[in-house]
């Protein structure tokens, strides 16, 4: 896929209750080779965007289960079709929750082990750099990015987990400052410190931490989140050869 304009067009889906939609939009605007536009949850097509962001927040108040109601939004059918065609979709936090509720990603996200919302910088160890979302990294790189959620405790049955590991679908894990996967480094009790996963075809990615809040050097969050979006941009522009 190589957008004609030379700039990758990101669509940021706005659900009622999304609240990191503007942050995602802003983050993309800091990349010279990308533009962002909002997509309304009641829309039925993606307006020709090259990549989709399902942003963080509390779609439908996170009532019932996070992401449970949003997944029925009209736009989600278009997102499903787009993903089936190999389009790049990233779900961040609530977006990740919507992707698992939609069945676009395996597993589920439970209440944090500590039963409290947690807003904290974490270290993410890159487990699989051969994805359209991480090819800018090397295996074992540590990214310092903020998490902020109440339900980020990833759970999946052992059989599926084993398959996911074998295929390299585990993309990011919570680690300590030395890259060790310790329980203390895990902010939510997620199985095997999982922080981000891909689907089997590596074009749909969900992560609990918020790369969009780490894109500007002068802000509190630093810049480690840029690499994720840069990877997506390069992939969409066909600049990167990413094995799937």
């Amino acid at each position: 896929m190589s957008p004609a304009s030379g700039r990758v067009r990101f669509g940021v889906v706005v659900f009622p209750g999304s609240n990191c939609d503007t942050d995602a939009h802003h983050a993309i605007s800091t990349f010279p080779d990308a533009t962002a536009q909002y997509l309304w949850h009641k829309d039925t097509d993606l307006a020709g965007v090259d990549a989709v962001i399902l942003p963080g927040g509390f779609s439908y108040g996170d009532y019932l289960r996070c992401g449970a109601i949003a997944r029925f939004s009209p736009i989600m059918q278009a997102v499903r079709d787009f993903a089936a065609d190999g389009g790049l979709v990233i779900g961040i936090c609530n977006g990740f929750q919507i992707l698992v509720e939609s069945g676009l990603l395996p597993g589920g996200l439970l209440r944090n082990m500590g039963l409290k919302f947690v807003c904290r910088y974490v270290n993410l160890r890159v487990e699989n750099p051969a994805t359209p979302f991480t090819h800018t990294c090397r295996e074992g790189d540590l990214l310092r990015i903020i998490v902020k959620h109440n339900e980020g405790n990833y759970a999946v049955d052992p059989t599926t987990l084993a398959q996911m590991k074998a295929r390299g679908q585990i993309v990011l894990r919570y680690a300590d400052a030395h890259g060790k996967l310790t329980p203390a480094a895990n902010p939510n009790g997620s199985v095997e410190n999982i922080a981000g996963i891909c689907n089997e075809t590596f074009n749909v990615f969900g992560m609990m931490p918020h790369p969009e809040n780490s894109v500007e050097a002068h802000m509190a969050g630093g810049t480690d989140g840029r690499t994720i979006f840069q990877a997506m941009i390069d992939s969409a522009l066909g600049r990167a050869e990413v094995k799937a």
Binding site: L64, A68, F72, E101, P106, G108, L110, A155, D157, G189
Partner: protein, 84 residues
């Protein structure tokens, strides 16, 4: 019709809330409690089109549970439908 849906964390899936409550109870002086599982209890009225049988209504509720009220990957559910 009155519908009651009971959603519980799937067996084998961690239940952070249940685990925390189980740990808290002895400190409050309650002993002998185990296997705490915390789920959801959903009640509603269902007024199906006239002529709907109880069986049909149950099928509708089952579908509602599967699609929305529970997430079968992490949750189990049961329900009751009473006429009235």
């Amino acid at each position: 019709m009155n519908v009651r849906v009971y959603v519980t964390p799937k067996k084998g899936i961690l239940d952070p809330q249940g685990a925390t409550v189980e740990r808290a109870l002895p400190n409050l002086g309650f002993s002998g409690v185990s296997d705490v599982r915390i789920g959801k209890f959903i009640e509603f009225r269902l007024d199906p089109p006239p002529g709907t049988t109880l069986e049909q209504a149950r099928a509708t509720v089952d579908e509602m549970c599967r699609k929305l009220l529970a997430n079968p990957i992490i949750e189990d559910f049961t329900f009751t439908v009473d006429e009235g």
